[in-house]
């Protein structure tokens, strides 16, 4: 009745090895599914940096003035232009062209620019766009959540 089989020690080692390999495959697969983490300020997730953004804004006719009174530099802004029943979103760099600095609005900086779309819109919402570093080492932008970090301008 003796049956040939794998020694228990070898079986255990093989099982552990297979589990580790399977675990690595699952880990790498899950990482590829998850959104690439963008960081700012020495490894901090950029979503946390959005909480520290502080801006003030004022609108008169076609002129929009924005002041960065926080300590987080703002790379760009999504400007949501709302009218009854319709809205349009444009980046500040598109709306104001060369008037908007390529480096954005540094902390303590002030910007003032004119665009006809500003005067035509009934409401404005400014959503900060920050520049961070991706895991691969390249710079990437991140748009903050509009509901949490959007600034309405009246």
């Amino acid at each position: 009745m003796s049956k040939k089989g794998v020694s228990p020690v070898i079986a255990t080692v093989l099982l552990i090895g297979m589990v580790i390999v399977l675990g690595m495959i699952i880990f790498l697969w899950m990482r590829s599914l998850a959104q690439e983490t963008i960081t700012k300020f020495e490894g901090e997730n950029i979503e946390l940096a959005c909480d520290d953004v502080q801006i003030e804004a004022s609108r008169v006719g076609n002129q929009l003035s924005i002041s960065n009174i926080g300590n987080t530099p703002i790379y760009d802004l999504n400007i949501k232009l709302t009218n009854p029943g319709v809205y349009e979103t444009k980046k500040a760099s598109e709306l104001f062209g060369s008037d908007w600095s390529r480096s954005g609005l540094n902390s303590g900086g002030v910007f003032s620019g004119e665009a006809s779309e500003i005067g035509d819109a009934e409401g404005l919402t400014l959503v900060p766009i920050l520049l961070g570093m991706s895991e691969s080492g390249s710079q990437k932008t991140f748009t903050c959540n509009e509901k949490r970090h959007g600034k309405e301008v009246f």
Partner: protein, 173 residues
Amino acid sequence: MWLYHKKSKKAVSEMIGYVLLITFAMIIGAVVYTWLSSYVPREAVECPDGVSVFIQDIKCESSGTDYLLTLNLTNNGRFAIDAYYLRVSENPEITIGTTPLTEVVSGNVQSVSGGIIIIPGQLQPGTDAETVVFKTEKAYLAEVTPIRYEVIEGKNRMAICGEAKVKETINCE
């Protein structure tokens, strides 16, 4: 004996079961750690609560083609202030300061690039700053934002105290 054999079921050895469970737990822990580690907040550049300035006196007077803005600041907070931004609005309808004043006519301050006005030796809590006079165009609003230099991880970093910003409407005559 026959009943015992009928009830026995094949299964993974307990020892192997433990090894598998612990290994899975470690792998899941590594995945969660990698994902969550970026959400741990780092030491941020921020102004301490309790920083406060007060515009004791501000006036704007004509001086030929320009105007002279005289400013008296008081530190009524709990922390010293190293510098400030002074900005004015040249449009009565704009509610934020958009034009930095950098031309100092008189007063013991230093104007540096970016519109920062440095107070030599800091402005200590409970003290008044020396009167400073700036050159300006006609303005309707003046805004002072205090600045502190904070040491973060051994480096001197500029912290803008946006929460402590003060504004005052002015009437340039």
